[in-house]
């Protein structure tokens, strides 16, 4: 069964964040961050709701969401692995880490695992140049990576309860292209 998103709830969540700035356009990025974090994607229906609440056109919401690397409207995994590709991390050996990550997660860069749990991406400098290679997994930073440690870190994420609990419908990725299906 296709995931069903509770858009009424989504609207409430959008209103809640937007209320902090009195429904000013300035809350667009905080709103998009909230939706992205919760639903892992931002579909056209969600964009329409955000546009309604903030009094702008949905195209503008789309324009902003697609501009920022962390607001990618495409549905992504519950854990987004972002490996730093900048020169300091390159000198520190990012290529080996990239291969290991790809192998352990079973996906290439720019891909999301079939179960919707993991995404793998490149990221630009994350300010850990003295401790490279570095990566972010959602908001958590991992530094001084070695291929061995990568294997352990990936295992740790796979063991986390969030990686196993069947997602509530509203937490499923929003866009229809994603092959993820709800268990219940």
């Amino acid at each position: 069964m296709r995931p069903v998103v509770d858009y009424a709830r989504l609207r409430e969540e959008v209103m809640e964040v937007a209320a902090l700035t009195n429904y000013n356009r300035a809350s667009l990025i905080p709103v998009l961050r909230t939706v992205k974090e919760k639903y892992r994607g931002i579909d056209s229906e969600a964009m329409q709701i955000i546009a309604d609440v903030l009094g702008c056109h949905p195209v503008e919401v789309n324009a902003v969401a697609t501009f920022y690397a962390f607001l990618n409207p495409k549905p992504e995994g519950r854990f987004i692995f972002r490996l730093c590709r900048t020169y300091s991390c390159e000198l520190a050996g990012k290529e080996e880490i990239a291969k290991q990550l790809s192998r352990n997660l079973g996906i290439g860069f720019g891909e999301t695992s079939a179960d919707g749990m993991f995404s793998l991406e490149w990221a630009n400098c994350m300010g850990m140049c003295d401790q490279g290679p570095a990566m972010l997994v959602n908001d958590e930073i991992h530094t001084k990576l070695t291929p061995n440690r990568v294997a352990v870190i990936v295992q740790d994420y796979k063991k986390r309860p969030e990686a196993h609990t069947p997602a509530r419908a509203a937490e499923q990725p929003l866009l229809g292209e994603n092959p993820v299906e709800c268990e219940s």
């Binding site: 356009r25 300035a26 962390f70 900048t86 020169y87 300091s88 390159e90 850990m128 908001d139 958590e140």
Partner: protein, 395 residues
Amino acid sequence: MSTDAIKTQGNTLTFSAIPAGEGLRKALAMPRVDIIDMVRDSKLKGRGGAGFPTGIKWNFAAAEKRTPKYVMCNADEGEPGTFKDRLILSEYADLVMEGMTIGGRAIGASLGLIYLRAEYAYLRKHLEDTIKRRKAENLLGQNICGVEGFNFNIMVAMGAGAYVCGEETALIESLEGFRGEPRNRPPFPVVSGFLNRPSVVNNVETLAWVPCIMVNGVDWFKSIGTNNSTGHKLFSVSGDCEKPGVYEFPFGITVADLLKEVGGSDAKAVQIGGASGRCVPKKDFERRLAFEDVPTGGSVIVIGPGRDMLDLAHNIMDFFVDESCGQCTPCRVGNDKLLKGVEMLKAGTCSDEYLDELKGLANTMQVASKCGLGQSSSVALLSIIEHFGDEIHGR
């Protein structure tokens, strides 16, 4: 919080000797105009890389009649190889907020915004806790330190992953809920910034130096560094050296002396100022790091012997193609052409005639691009072509 203990090495920073609250109390005992005079006399220049004199910036904003005004802290530290602001925000957030508060007092603002890059989201809680504590200590909030009518608050606003938002007008666009596309200047943000109100945008490190100047005095600050680049500077050192980390050195230090301190003396080159900076070859290691010689926001990437300089050029051009906001043609198309050019150089298929054309294109981009990104994205490539001709040819 993070799963790894973030341990950044380095030397002892002046910041560690400045107690929270002291600089602010000193500033609040002075008339506003004296605060600005002090910052101006210290010749403190923007530590983000552009080096605009902070006192002059504050003076412009103070002179504006329209209110409300805003003080922004640019914590969108995205320049490759830079991480000093991460360290300052983690360990000396009080000094940064104090610099903002003093700035608020000086220009007549009552709200400060810290624009924190998405990659540093794990610092958000720490910053918000610091704001809460400072409110409890009456260092933020209403009638700060008992000064009747001086109200100032700070909020943290999150970025969402865009290098160009480190450019001050793009940062403001982002804060207002738009794509981070730089604005035409003038008007400058000091006249018309956030929500079209007078706003000063200062780098994290710049703001942290302000309370230090208040505490230790203008003469102390001017006695350090060079004539045109006063004070200490924090350097983010990474790459092929024994002791990467955040180091405080006086402006004017030579590349060679810096390399000695960090254990990187055998380097063949150093990339100064991140992706938008220049590549300094070994023969120029006696050059000085200062606004009048080799300017830098503090990023120092040490490149050891045996590294391929075209790999550096490739990495940098890749970065700019990804991070160009796409608004103006010289930058959007130019960076793409330069990247393809570097790929041709690597493959040995770039003729000298075409290389000359690329250099011409790079120079055009430097004058025709709208903001600092496109104006500086080819600096590294041009310096690599200039200094490593033998390495680039012969493939």
